[in-house]
């Protein structure tokens, strides 16, 4: 099969193009800029038929996407870090409006101090906005997931927006071979957006009005239910993708060498690729370790995590962010899911790679050794601090 070679950011743009996004509204921010530039090129060359609103801020980008989606158009944007934080109000608005917008977010550390490198604090801070969150590990997965995300989000049982994450630079600016599927095949997979309600002069409705306490709670419950129902749809859409295009990305959680594993790490994004190398090295030494890659963080795949808990004695959760107060979010959510599980293995949190710090295979091997020995000494460890190695925080 002939392959293209492209960055994660190009894969975002081609994903939006193949999904036939009709309205793009975006504002440049490092390291997302090449997504915007590629989309501008695709629109300018006529390859992509879309209205591209070059807005004056990310807040307006999401506002314009919301209005476009409410008018029945498929809408796309991309951002990173401070851009995502500036959108915060509108992220909640998009989910509350039940609009299937898809957005690329290039995970970047938040300032101060200024940093443009990989870190998940930006998207983790938006965990509660009602968006589905997909974390990708390759350019191929980015392209495929943008298209899949529209199919999931536009399902009438779901109708909530989706973020497709890439690690800054490790993925956004790294060239990888990518199979770009033919437009016709994508069209077969993803039909045009068919909203159950939209702004239409022939059938006028008012959207997003004030709702008093006797109805508001039901609106929120419906979002909660949609998020729950999205689990099944995410799984089915990935399976359908595999049937059509010959590759799966693991649904909600991708497992690697989990058969007969004694210990596992839970990780997301590009560090999962590194983890596979580390796991192969450990397996070569006869150590039974595996990886559960969190592809989807919202909805949280608690059932898959409980299944892993049945299979292993010890789990290490790797977080590329920290929710100041108690542990990384992947850890606290994993621990929360396991409380209701019949089997509760040893679990420990490793905070690693903050602000784009490199994560070499030997670091993950070091963590895997600790996980295998069910090392005690606190729940949360900041791994690889410069001053004196690792430190426990609680």
């Amino acid at each position: 099969m002939p392959m293209d070679v492209m960055t994660g950011n190009s894969a975002q743009a081609y994903g939006a193009k193949l999904a036939r996004a009709e309205v793009v509204a975006a504002y440049p921010i490092t390291p997302q800029t090449t997504v915007v530039e590629k989309l501008a090129d695709l629109v300018a060359s006529g390859e992509m038929k879309a209205q591209f609103i070059k807005v004056e801020s990310e807040h307006s980008a999401m506002a314009a996407c919301i209005a476009a989606s409410a008018t029945g158009a498929r809408a796309y944007t991309a951002t990173a870090a401070h851009g995502l934080a500036l959108m915060h109000e509108m992220l909640i608005w998009a989910a509350g409006s039940r609009l299937p917008i898809v957005m690329g977010n290039i995970n970047r550390a938040m300032a101060p101090p200024w940093s443009v490198w990989a870190d998940y604090q930006d998207s983790i801070a938006e965990r509660d906005t009602g968006w589905m969150q997909f974390y990708c590990q390759s350019s191929q997965e980015v392209l495929d997931t943008v298209i899949q995300a529209y199919k999931v989000a536009e399902n009438h049982d779901v109708l909530i927006p989706a973020m497709v994450m890439e690690d800054a630079f490790y993925l956004s600016h790294t060239f990888e071979p990518v199979d770009v599927p033919p437009q016709k095949d994508v069209d077969d997979f993803l039909p045009p957006y068919d909203p159950p309600v939209k702004l239409d002069v022939d059938n006028p409705v008012g959207l997003c009005a004030l709702v008093p306490p006797d109805h508001y709670m039901e609106f929120r419950f419906k979002i909660a239910k949609a998020m729950e129902d999205s689990r099944k749809v995410i799984q089915e859409v990935d399976e359908e993708w595999e049937k059509k295009f010959g590759r799966s990305h693991g649904g909600l959680v991708e497992r690697y060498r989990m058969e007969d594993a004694d210990a596992a790490i839970i990780a997301a994004g590009t560090m999962s690729s590194t983890a596979r190398v580390a796991i192969d090295n450990m397996r070569d030494k006869g150590k039974k370790v595996g990886l559960a890659r969190l592809r989807v963080f919202r909805p949280f795949p608690y059932e898959e995590i409980r299944q892993i808990a049945k299979e292993v004695d010890s789990i290490g959760v790797l977080d590329r962010s920290y929710t100041f107060g108690h542990g990384g979010a992947f850890y606290t959510e994993t621990a929360g899911a396991l409380y209701q599980a019949p089997e509760r293995p040893h679990v420990k949190n490793y905070v690693i790679g903050i602000g784009g710090r490199d994560i070499p295979p030997k670091d993950i091997e070091g963590i895997l050794e600790k996980v295998l020995t069910k090392e005690d000494g606190g729940e949360v460890e900041w791994f690889g601090l410069r001053t004196s190695g690792s430190r426990e925080v609680n």
Binding site: E22, I53, S60, A63, A68, A70, P212
Partner: protein
């Protein structure tokens, strides 16, 4: 322009929950008469967003999207882009915001829309304060006014800066059409909307919308207050088409500003000296407007 007939069709239902004598509702009603039913409208947090009706009620017969406070213009741009993507070119897209939502928190998005020249109509219905939240001062509150955040007190803490001039700000964006209008003069307002609605680009209307609740006057005086604002030239009627100013309606004889101020409780604390300052500012602004109209005449196409 020939004889004007204001369309009879009502696109705003009766039964809204606005205050008695609300100027803003008249602005909406006349606007929709001028535009007709192939119109989509987006409204931020403001009085109209509430008085249009609490779910599941809605007082408009055109599609309405309620949006976040600072996003009116960006939302209108998004609607227009979606219509363009669908090949729908016979629908007017309107952003309809209050003075706070326009001149303060929404000015960034509005500036972006105007700079891009997005094909929308933006209406700022100006009641000169954050009325929906309870009469707090905005950038459009006039010099001298009492509000709940310029409460006068014992230190004379009334609004000490003049009203932000939104028409000038919009003219600086090189848009095809910007105009003032008043709910006291529906023919002038409707005429302007009909003139501008099919122009390509961003059109801006600053509509004077007296507010009995916030301005502290009796509800039946809304139109009288609007007439006096015009007659004193506190709020003159003009339009700016491609940078060319034209005063659309001139008072036969200008009345003193005190006639306008004295009817409103929000100005009752003003002493004669302060009223003189206001008169001087109004005189100066009026003369400048006439001078601009005279100066730019030669640039008319």
């Amino acid at each position: 322009m020939g004889k004007l007939t204001i369309p009879q069709e009502e696109l705003m239902n009766s039964g809204h929950i606005g205050c008695l004598g609300c100027g803003g509702t008249l602005a909406m009603r006349y606007l929709l008469k001028a535009l007709g039913k192939r119109t989509m409208i987006t409204i931020p947090a403001c009085c109209i967003a509430i008085m249009s009706g609490i779910y599941p009620r809605n007082f408009l017969k055109v599609p309405l999207l309620d949006v976040a406070f600072e996003t009116t213009a960006a939302s209108a741009s998004g609607i227009r882009a979606a219509l363009d993507a669908k090949g729908i070119d016979d629908v007017y897209v309107v952003g309809f915001g209050g003075d706070g939502g326009t001149a303060d928190i929404g000015i960034q998005a509005l500036s972006g829309t105007a700079e891009r020249g997005d094909n929308i109509i933006y209406v700022m219905y100006d009641n000169e304060a954050y009325m929906n939240t309870g009469i707090q001062r905005s950038g459009a509150t006039p010099f001298g006014a009492w509000t709940t955040t310029t409460p006068v007190g014992t230190t004379g803490d009334f609004k000490k800066r003049p009203k932000k001039n939104m028409v000038e700000i919009m003219v600086a964006h090189d848009i095809p059409y910007a105009a003032t209008a008043s709910v006291a003069y529906p023919e002038d307002f409707v005429k302007k909307v009909m003139k501008a609605k099919d122009m390509d680009g961003t059109k801006f209307f600053h509509v004077f919308s007296p507010c009995p609740t916030g301005w502290r006057y009796s509800p039946e005086m809304t139109i009288q207050i609007g007439v006096l604002a015009f007659q004193t030239t506190v709020f003159p009627m003009y339009e700016v088409e491609n940078g060319v100013y034209r005063v659309t309606k001139k008072p036969a004889k200008r009345k003193p500003v005190a006639d306008y101020l004295k009817l409103q409780g929000r100005f009752k604390h003003l002493d004669d000296e302060t009223i003189k300052i206001i008169q001087k500012n109004v005189d100066r602004n009026w003369e400048m407007l006439l001078a601009k109209a005279e100066f730019t005449k030669k640039f008319a196409e």
